[in-house]
């Protein structure tokens, strides 16, 4: 799977994910989940499930994306998730 294909699937998944939230925010590389898209903890759990379904794998282990330098990130951008998935899916 190419980086472009991964990006396309992820952005489509995210666009569908927030489709009914009444947000007027374009999904771009620098779009952040919490600050721009108003995610809460249940939304993060659901988004993990949505990504696992979209890429047909329950064990992507993308939790590592949430921890950097031993600390937990406060937010994530679409670009960070794309880069993470590209690394995991092409490893």
């Amino acid at each position: 799977m190419t980086d472009a294909e991964i990006s396309s699937i992820l952005r489509k998944t995210l666009a569908e994910f927030v489709a009914d939230w009444g947000l007027d925010v374009p999904v771009e590389a620098d779009t952040s989940l919490v600050e721009d898209l108003e995610f809460d903890s249940i939304d993060v759990i659901q988004f993990v499930v949505a990504i696992e379904n979209a890429f047909q794998s329950r064990n992507l282990g993308f939790q590592s994306l949430l921890m950097q330098d031993g600390r937990y990130v406060d937010d994530l951008s679409v670009g960070q998730i794309e880069a993470f998935l590209a690394k995991r899916l092409t490893a």
């Binding site: 569908e16 994910f17 927030v18 489709a19 009914d20 939230w21 903890s41 249940i42 939304d43 993060v44 759990i45 659901q46 993990v48 499930v49 949505a50 379904n53 329950r58 064990n59 282990g61 939790q63 590592s64 949430l66 921890m67 937990y72 990130v73």
Partner: protein, 536 residues
């Protein structure tokens, strides 16, 4: 043509429904249609799953299998990582056997399934499926087929926010509320089942599925919080204005439900109508802090708080917050009523050695049975069951080692508070094993039957839908349910066992995630911390 209407009423109990049906309460007959169904149909108490909890019990209705075989035990599942505990949520991918929706689809029948928990992410079926316990923000992508949301959105009056699970509102269950506050809380629940009913009626009329199933869960939510105005033994009518107002509003809810059932039945009058609950209800008078008791006995050690706001929030969460390096037995969540024994490992050197397991477990049972109410000196735990007794089956390894059954049928508390047993200021509604079964339709006898099992529901629904009943189904059709002539003309057909699905636990019950490398385990814990489930 619709052959089976399966209507679920979460937590419905004859304790509450009898006076509303027979009119022996001060308000007279509140549920005339349900009363007429019971009078001309078959009814019985319906024994729930070993631990009468919504996720395992409705999954049993959906699969025809007991929790030891379908693998759902709670809202939350956990993985013991030795020096940490990984808590996450059960979902459809954890259901290890086919649902009746899938079985019916495979056999060429059409299905509509609405509001059943553990059905997200949804399976592909020949029909429509909207899972329950999903926030409005996630409804669209958790419906099957993917186009269903847009179709439903066009229905008159459809409001996804009214229809869906409100996590903030539901998390208040168990809180003590003044009646003025409770009135507003109940009021906010009323539109939900109206939304489900409207959607169900429309899909039933337009699609005419062979099997139509709808679960309404307001009964459970309202009974939890408003038990003091519903239990005939507690409600005498001599109450203040605020309590009277709550009672009036709650009865309006039951009146509404009676109308929803009538309208759904009118849309498929020739079908078999089966009304079931996942469990019954009773009043809980005691708070039983089971982990506090286990701490007093030296089986577990609380995690030390650093006094931060984060630590305070974690202590208030409904997940055990313990020092996992010093814990041998604990209860993970209040809904589970389960006790988990932790085995010795490199990361948990203080755990129980395999050769000591049986002796340790037997001693724990004795100690649990000796837990007493300091006010009365009486035992608070009626019985303790080993997992092989409570949850036998291929998925037994994921069940708690022990399940405790409180004298008042209540759920335990896992919080770090003393004393271990206290009396509630007002009895709180809690789950009781005895639910309800009411059925009418072609060939159904008008009688009161003996107590049935919740697994019988799925077997009966499969038969009335014209399915080959999978040999793996654990239920039975009561001998006196149908007229002999009807049963002779419509004999049950037994087919192949239902297919397994989902990930398979290993012999010790571990999930495939248990096989991930240590760095990934730590990352998984990190995610849970981020989400607020685990805090340092």
């Amino acid at each position: 043509m619709t052959r089976t209407l399966l209507i679920g009423l979460d937590g419905a109990t004859f304790t509450v429904l009898d006076p509303l049906m027979d009119g022996t309460c001060a308000e007279g007959v509140v549920m005339p249609y349900l009363a007429s169904l019971r009078a001309r149909g078959y009814s019985a108490k319906l024994k729930s799953t070993a631990h009468p909890l919504t996720p395992p019990a409705w999954t049993t209705v959906c699969t025809g299998r007991t929790p030891g075989n379908h693998g759902i035990y709670d809202f939350v599942r956990f993985e013991d990582l030795g020096d940490e505990m990984f808590f996450t949520l059960y979902d459809f991918r954890d259901v290890q056997v086919e649902t009746i929706w899938q079985i019916a689809s495979r056999q060429g029948k059409s299905v509509v399934s609405l509001n059943f928990p553990m059905m997200a992410p949804p399976p592909a079926i020949n029909g429509s499926l909207v899972p329950g316990f999903v926030s409005w923000k996630h409804l669209r992508r958790n419906m099957y087929p993917a186009t269903l949301f847009d179709r439903i959105k066009a229905f008159d009056g459809f409001d996804p926010k009214e229809l869906s699970w409100d996590f903030e509102r539901e998390s208040q269950i168990g809180d003590v509320m003044p009646d003025e506050e409770l009135y507003k809380w109940v009021e906010n629940h009323l539109p939900r089942d109206k939304q489900w009913s409207n959607m169900g009626k429309r899909l039933l009329q337009e699609d005419k599925p062979d099997l139509f199933a709808l679960m309404m869960d307001g009964t459970d939510k309202i009974q939890h919080q408003a038990w003091h105005v519903l239990d005939p033994r507690l409600w005498t009518g001599a109450a203040d204005e605020a309590a009277q107002a709550v009672r009036k509003l709650v009865l309006q809810y039951y009146r509404n439900v009676d109308g929803y059932i009538r309208d759904l039945h009118a849309a498929a009058p020739d079908a078999h109508l089966i009304i079931v609950s996942d469990h019954g209800f009773a009043g809980s008078e005691k708070v039983v802090r089971i982990n506090q008791y286990l701490a007093d006995l030296g089986h577990l050690t609380w995690r030390q708080s650093d006094g931060s706001e984060q630590a305070r929030r974690r202590d208030l969460a409904n997940f055990a917050n313990l020092d996992w390096t010093k814990t041998r037995a604990f209860c993970p969540t209040p809904s589970s009523n389960g006790i988990v024994i932790r085995m010795k490992s490199d990361k948990n050197p203080g755990g129980v050695r395999p050769e000591d397991y049986e002796r340790y477990r037997d001693r724990l049972i004795e100690e649990l049975l000796d837990m007493r109410d300091p006010e009365t000196g009486r035992r608070v735990i009626a019985r303790v069951e080993k997992r092989e007794d409570a949850f036998p089956g291929t998925a037994m390894g994921q069940a708690p080692d022990l399940t405790v059954f409180l004298v008042d049928h209540g759920f335990v508390s896992v919080r770090n508070r003393e004393p271990a047993v206290v009396t509630r200021p007002t009895p709180l509604g809690t789950h009781h094993p005895d639910g309800i079964f009411i059925m009418v339709g072609p060939g159904v006898q008008a009688r009161r039957g003996e107590t049935m099992s919740i697994v019988d529901t799925t077997t009966i629904a499969a038969h009335t839908t014209g399915l080959e009943i999978p040999a793996s189904f654990e239920g039975r059709i009561p001998a006196d349910l149908f007229e002999p002539g009807w049963l002779e003309a419509n004999p049950p057909r037994i087919g192949a066992a239902q297919a397994s699905q989902g990930h398979k636990p290993s012999a010790d019950g571990a999930h495939p995630e248990d096989d991930v490398p240590e760095d990934q385990r730590q990352e998984m814990l990190a995610q849970l911390r981020l989400l607020g489930y685990i805090e340092d």
